[in-house]
Amino acid sequence: MKDFSIRLIWRIFSGIIMVLVVASLTFFLVRMMPGNPVDAQYNQLIMQGMTPVQAQNQVRVMYGFIPHSSLASQYMTYIANLLRLNLGQSVSYEGVSVSHIILNAAPWTLILVFTGLVASFLIGVLAGVIAAIKRSSPMGTTLTISGSLLHGVPQFVMGLLLAYVFTTLWPILPFGAPYDSSIAAGFNLPFVSSLISHAVLPVATYALSSYGGWLLTMKSSVITVLGDDFILASEIRGLKAATRVRYIAHNAILPLFTLFTLSIGFMFGGSVFIENIFDYPGLGNLLLKSIDARDYPLMSGAFLLITIAVIISNIVTDFLYSMVDPRIRR
């Protein structure tokens, strides 16, 4: 128990250091990008028909949201604020705090990616076991082909295809908002069904494009386990098929478990293509908008959230893995 506590404290400490390093790197990287928020806004105002003088005067207000001290001093302020969990104010969403914007977008990414991830993982793992056990049958072959095909289709192609079929060719599913705004949000049937109907396409895109990977990995893992001595022994001892499948699944799922927990960490990165295609308001979409507007604080905040999520999931994976696989603890 003492060892566990020391390991945990050490991992958390190294995680914090890693977060600070990544935060520092992203702070400078985003500011090295060409263009700046004022130029981006200025041109937008000109396009809206303002005269250059009007546009200049108007961006003066936005200019008030951009720090003007030296980069080093801005960096020190940024890190000091970060230690107080203050991510600063957005430039493009004038005066709105970065954490507020990110916290508004994060749940939609969670809904999209987490649901898609869990669905694709469950279906992929199940299909992978079947494809491995029945690998010589037409069913196994069909499953493997479906996995290979879907694995080869990039997410954005899948998204565009589903969008075309279900919103244009056969327009039965909505897109462009997380739910119908004419319905009051709350735990009621119209709202929940609106929420689900709007999530179907993005979730299905994620699930379909991830399913193949899980299936193929699980199939390969199961085939490896099938050749192990303990499976042969269990067959010779006449154990029931269900028990044998449980043995196989328990051992074969270990590599997938690591991938799954890491994927949970990466899910905060959103699924940029999917969110963009369906205009789903998650972190991926937010990140694109912030890059477009050169909104440095928002970009830094979004990158930081992704970093923290990956680091936490790494730590959690490490500890959970040692519980799932006792050999790790030795």
Binding site: M33, P34, G35, N36, D39, A40, Q41, N43, I46, Q48, G49, T51, P52, V53, Q54, Q56, Q58, R60, V61, M62, G64, F65, S92, Y93, E94, G95, V96, H100, I101, N104, A105, L122, A163, T168, P171, I172, P174, G176, A177, P178, D180, S181, S182, I183, A184, A185, P190, S193, S197, V200, N276, I277, D279, Y280, P281, N285, I291, D292, A293, R294
Partner: protein, 604 residues
Amino acid sequence: MKRLSFFMMGAVLALSVTACGNTSSSSNTGTQFTTVYYYHPISPGAPKNPFNATGNSFTSFDKMQLAWSADSATNLNKFYPGLAQKWSTNANGTTATIELQPNAKWSNGKPVTANDVKTSMAVAFTQGTAQSFSLGSVKVLSQKKVELSQLPGSKYNLFLHDLLQQTVVPDFQYSGQLPKNIWTIIQQSQYSGTDKTKAALATKAQGELTALGKKITQFAPQTDISAGPFVLQRLNPGEAYLVKNKYFYANSKVKVDSVSLRNYTGNQQIWNYLTSGQLDAAPFTAMPQNVLNNIIRVKNNQKVVSPSYVAASLAFDQNFYPYGNTNVRKALAYVIDRNAVQKIAEPVVGTPAKYTDGMIDSVAKNWIDPSTQSKMDPYNLNISKATSILKKEGFKKTNGKWIMPDGKPWTMNIYAVDGFSDWIQGAKVISTELTNFGIDANPNIVSSFAQYQADLAAQKYAVGFWLDSLGASMYTAFGRIYGLPDGYNVVGGKLVHYTQKDKTQGNWIGLPETLKLATGETVNPGELTNELNTLPVSQQRSNVQKLALTTNEYVPVIELWDYVNIQFVNTSRFTNFPVHDMGLMNNQPGVWMSLGYVNPKSSK
């Protein structure tokens, strides 16, 4: 395993049924009007404040102006009434009197008063907008009448035009955000004389206004108080839902019960909404021919064409050899087949530019006299003329390739921006045409518009795409060439010219400050353009003629195509769209509705 499969099948089925059962929930309940909000993203958490760039306040629906511009190229002061019922100016246009709609009320039932206008103008000073149209003072004449004057000595010719487009907010909501001595601060900030004490006070006051501007921008009212036809009820990150404002002054004219405003993140979203028949009206968006065909095929979708004040052009940084030579730019203008370029690059919303003159053709016909027109070169496709010009300038053709006078082969990178599909296609066509002519040209794509602008300003591109002729105002249109891009800027009220040697000031065109025209006259295009800011419209013609001739003769850009504004309406659920009033059509649907347009089909 069987149980799991059964459960999953059931879940998928339930999901599908639920989903399909609600497919068109957002479209529609008969009198719910669905469109796309084009100006800014819909963002939960952003304040319900029209002065915030992304605030949840929507022009023409719950964000009201004094009046709505008809966007007329010949009469910039043509407006449709908004909160102002009537307006007039004195003889020289320096003072305007506004009479508010007698029945105008806020959505909480309180009347809209002249005091609201005064407070809104004070807020406009904190945002920098009032300074841009030289507003000097505001005098409340009665509860519904207000007089606004320009700064003493100022004669800004777009005073009324800009003034009428100001947003009006309630005094009872915003006055608390301003200090009691706000008008003293404003007056102090306007001092531009030589008295050091007053100048110091002015600088201090300007700083105070900037700080107030930031405070106002951040201000987040608890509720949406609207004087418009609608009031915001709720929103999510993709959609805003507004319901009819029962206190709106023209309530009986508004036949729509609620409005759903969809978020806009890119053209693709609008195309998809249109092809799935979800929008009752859609703003202008560029699109390829096949997308247009798909949209038109949708039952009751209608295309509406109205004027657009913008042209696409190929611009040159004259700091790069050999583009500093006017004859080289002219030769290139003869080589580029603008008809072919437009047909491929912008077939749906473009017409080939007839002249390179800094204006779109539909506007030029109102401004350019026949005698000036006759002096202009249309630069029709003429390869032999281009060849002869280049040979005269010392260029040689060897093995089908042009060699520049400095002995180097002539190569050209044409820059366009990723996502600007028309520019990219245009760059490809022009590259092909130039390559066939013997110049080794290639399209080059820059990842974002922000980077493109920064690189242009830093003089990194010799040849690239540009939008010129922007807006109905001639000052704005010519400012796209002879403004910041050519090194001209207004600093402290005075025109300053920065040469290309100073790479920090954004001069990437690099024309000489004065140019001699074929007529023998010497002109300064930056000064001529700047004068358009103050000259009355009736006196602008002479400047416009000279600027058009300068542009045609010195070819700082080659105008390729004029854009055309194409909007869509769908008559499945609503009729009576203002499709025959182009000025009105170019406004947001809230303006149409407040003027009695857009009727639900059932109530016909």
